[in-house]
Amino acid sequence: MKYSFLVCMALLSYSLYAQNLMINNATIIDVHTGELVEKQQLLIENGVITKISKKALKNKNKYQVIDVNGKYLMPGMIDTHIHFFQTGSLYTRPDAIDLTSVVSYEEELAFAEELVNDSFKRYLRLGITTVMDVGGPFSNFKVRDTIAAENTSPNVYVTGPLFSPYQPEALAKTADVPIAKITSIEDATALFNKMLPYKPDFIKIWYIASPEIPAEKTYPIVKHIAQLAHDNSLKLAVHATQLNTAILAVKAGADILVHSVDDKEVTEEFAQLLKENNVTYVPTLIVSKNYFTSFTGTPSNHAQDLNFANPKTYRSLTDVQRYTKETMPAVLKRFQGNTDGFLKYYDANTVLMNKNLKFLQEQGVNIATGTDAGNIGTMHASSYLQEIEAMEKGGLTSLQLLKAATINAARGFGLENILGSIKEGKVADIIILDENPITDIQNLTTIESVIKDGAILKVSDIIKETPEQIVQRQVNAYNARDIDAFIATYADDVEFFNFPNEPGSKGKEALRNQFNAMFKRVPNLYCEIKKRIVIGNKVIDREHVRFGDQYSDVVAIYEIENGKISKVTFLE
């Protein structure tokens, strides 16, 4: 088998927490056909689906039994395009925008390391049981071999630094660089040989082309890297966003294109080329515009981000609002005010990317879902449904979307024998849903539990946020003026006090009425946390709130019980 090494490595990483389970009365979504296969019994042993049967199964070994009558089972989803060395915050790509005077790159990288385990939980919570980190520092291997191996996590596939003809200066200063400058065959061989002992799951090329470095000129190096990868049974993923570069990438041997072609309409010839070479196309639609909305401090405030993104990371996307005209860092200024030109560009870009996606889908190219999460504005895990929604707007049907998220993604990385559908012999990575996502893709938000390697995880138990995270999530929802996300952070019987103990309003409904009115009335509402103290289950925030043309300063003492804000005391 061509990719046997990858498969071996994969099965190895499943064994740690593998469990046994019997599932009765399942309605299985066949992602190949879109059919619902009803009244099925599944046996999961050591994390692998060993039997699927219409007949009742004997529980000889007394496995845990669950009945899922009325629920829908689909395979765990796969994000084929993420980067763990990037957090998604405003400070994560100093080459794109230099705000190192606000948050240094060293601080940001330390935060990225701290965030990995948190992101794992968020991926699982949202039904994403496999992620591919397509390029980052050598510490990526530690993420896979140590952090993922020792914690509840999705399956993590990684590579090391991107092979690139161009290295942004701002990312070249650390000892363990994410992007390596490769300008010769010798450079390429040296990096490849350095990476090989770490057992990369695939290889990635950042095929950047410009008038100074035309794609034709670097083609021999790309071809050489492809050869090295294939000689070692490794797939090659390539970043190539122009039609010409993408064609050259495929001719050189790319197996996966991790971005859309967005300079020209693709042709039938191009589709043919992808099919002949079994190339997977990952459209990665939303990442680019997210940079811009972060630079303007106006993220889309999608419910997935407000409810499931890491709250500290998400907060950074509105950090721009802290500044006045006078205090704003110069690099941010040009993005403020008249943004029509930028928005027009992104709209036109989206139209073209959508057109190419729909065409390639119709031509039968293997399309897989990937977010490029970790880039500025594209949150780990919570961006996934937004990418799916963008692909839906591009014209894909629910079934095509489900395939892209599961079996197509597995196939793209040579993992279709172990992942991507619910079949005997495959890894038991399964999502249990209340509603059918084929009728409406939004039903992906109705996940009841996630089975990872056969272990059943209730969604309410997967993410355990700290008191600080809960309070920050509340602040994010406040700034988004999203009443549902705001209220969701409070306990039903929450009590408010004026310091020290004068009772104020009480209960979630009173809160809803009070804030709903304000959220509607004050469009520029913005709360900046000037200082924060955390002690045990209490978070004390010094808040500076913009309210129309006025500002107010307040200290709030939040108390958290069972994951909700149960008491708030205000000092004014």
Binding site: K531, R532, I535, G536, I540, L571, E572
Partner: protein
């Protein structure tokens, strides 16, 4: 004196275990509370003197490290970490001081 200066003077006196200066940083009628309890655990300078002179005497290595401070109007909120107190290895707490022109009028303590 600014509220922050008064609180800092009190903190310095605490770390110097200087009971007279410490007591003098508090108003004659100062009240000390555990946050969320309505009854003060100490009321007036004499009670404060009794409690703290005992602590100062028994804890020669006493030290309070200021981790964070928030100032809002006449209130100063200190996040303190105390070491060297007899019988307690590390004591982390928040103190909310209410200050008038010259001294601490009320203090509320929040423990973990």
């Amino acid at each position: 004196m600014l509220p922050e200066e008064i609180v800092q003077k009190q903190l310095n006196a605490y770390n110097a275990r200087d009971i007279n200066t410490f007591v003098a940083c508090h108003a004659h009628n100062a009240q000390l509370y555990s946050f969320s309890e309505t009854k003060a655990f100490a009321q007036g300078q004499e009670q404060i003197r009794t409690i703290y002179s005992e602590i100062f005497k028994n804890s020669p290595q006493l030290h309070s490290k200021l981790i964070h401070r928030i100032v809002l109007g006449n209130k100063v909120i200190d996040h303190e970490e105390i070491t060297g107190r007899k019988g307690i290895e590390v004591l982390e707490f928040i103190a909310i001081y209410e200050v008038d022109d010259t001294s601490i009028v009320k203090a509320y303590f929040i423990r973990e």
